[in-house]
């Protein structure tokens, strides 16, 4: 069985999406031939080769304004026919992570991916929404407050291996939302300060 995992974050390796992609790759690793690729970056032009003959396409991307990052959307739109030819009969899964706390805010992106699958003549498998994306890189998947995220990826991996469709599923960190917000506010201010932008300047109006 061949699985192509497509990292749809423009941040490539430095992204929460990459962590999620690697976690799934590890879970599928010994049972499938499974590579991670991206439509951009040094190997961007190779992506169609990488998805050729895949039985499952797993798109892993960050939520951008309730939808897909534009470079990923462009790839799906412009290469629709190629994807449909090269991965004909494949199942389409999506793991979407977002900055807001609630994983359910990824629901519209699942629908967009499902409409893509329909247009490409591929079969929709499942959407997984992971909220609190800000914690993924700092805490690590499957650990402490992100234990449920790890469990969710286990279930997804089983569905991928069995070529099963399942209900979309979303998960939030086991962590107080108010605290998540407080930490995020501190870290925005700290990043700005590093760029010599103070708290008042952050609020500037156009």
């Amino acid at each position: 069985m061949k699985v192509a995992i497509i990292n749809g974050s423009p941040k490539l390796r430095e992204s929460a999406s990459q962590l999620l992609a690697e976690a799934v790759q590890k879970k599928l690793g010994n049972q499938t031939e499974c590579a991670i690729c991206s439509p951009i970056g040094p190997e961007g032009s190779e992506i169609l080769k990488k998805i050729e003959g895949a039985n499952a396409l797993v798109f892993v991307f960050p939520l951008y304004i309730d939808g897909l990052p534009s470079h990923l959307l462009r790839f799906l739109d412009e290469s629709l026919q190629d994807i449909s030819d090269k991965a004909s009969g494949a199942m389409v899964y999506s793991i979407v992570n977002n900055g807001f706390f609630e994983g359910r805010q990824n629901a519209v992106a699942f629908e967009i991916m499902r409409n893509f699958a329909d247009k490409a003549g591929l079969k929709w498998g499942q959407g997984i929404g992971v909220g609190g994306g800000g914690m993924l890189r700092s805490v690590g998947i499957g650990r402490g407050p992100l234990k449920k995220v790890g469990n969710t990826l286990d279930l997804l991996s089983k569905n991928i291996i069995n070529a099963r469709s399942a209900q979309n599923y979303t998960v939030d960190p086991d962590f107080p939302r108010a605290l998540y917000i407080a930490v995020a506010h501190l870290s925005w201010r700290a990043s700005a300060r590093k760029n010599k932008v103070n708290s008042k300047q952050m609020l500037v109006k156009p």
């Binding site: 304004i65 706390f101 519209v108 760029n195």
Partner: protein, 171 residues
């Protein structure tokens, strides 16, 4: 510019735009998403380096500053998988400096604090042949979610089979 000003972000080719859109004026600003602007790289410089403006230097950086100056923000887009077209989405992703990085709770969910006092009303005008019902439902859900995220008071959505059919509603 006043709250009567309309801003139309569209993905039409130049000749088609001239045939369909009103002339650019003080009451009606136009922004062409084609040819495509560069895509957002997720750096958050628009929040922490040059607040309110994207750090990538092409015309895609101008949109976030134009949005607050209009009363109505109209997006004319080809419907792609039930959402915005890649050209439009590239402009929108580059424009999140329009809101602040800080968060608030709206209807029980986390969202951004608006940067400006009076964010514009939103109107989505989608065109495309053979739209499915499913795609239309997706677009409606997207418009609703975006209007909360962009803190706009109202959002409207319309569908047409071709961009030429949109002319009347853009007058």
């Amino acid at each position: 510019m006043s709250s009567k000003t309309r801003l139309i972000l569209h993905d039409l080719r130049p000749g088609d735009a001239a045939a369909v859109l009103p002339a650019q004026s003080e009451e009606c600003l136009l922004f062409a998403a084609y040819p495509a602007v560069r895509y957002c790289v997720g750096c958050y410089g628009c929040w922490t380096k040059t607040p309110g403006k994207c750090v990538i230097r092409d015309r895609g950086a101008d949109m976030a500053g134009m949005m607050p100056k209009c009363g109505e923000f109209i997006i004319l887009s080809r419907l792609v998988f039930g959402g915005l077209s890649p050209d439009i989405k590239a402009v929108m992703d580059r424009s999140i400096g329009f809101v602040l990085p800080f968060f608030r709770i709206v209807k029980g969910e986390m969202h951004h604090v608006p940067r400006v006092e009076h964010p514009p009303d939103l109107r989505y005008v989608f065109y495309g042949a053979d739209m499915t019902e499913r795609e239309k439902e997706t677009a409606k859900a997207l418009a609703k979610a975006n209007s909360i995220n962009l803190a706009s008071g109202r959002s409207e959505i319309q569908f047409f089979p071709t961009f030429r059919d949109c002319k009347e509603v853009l007058k």
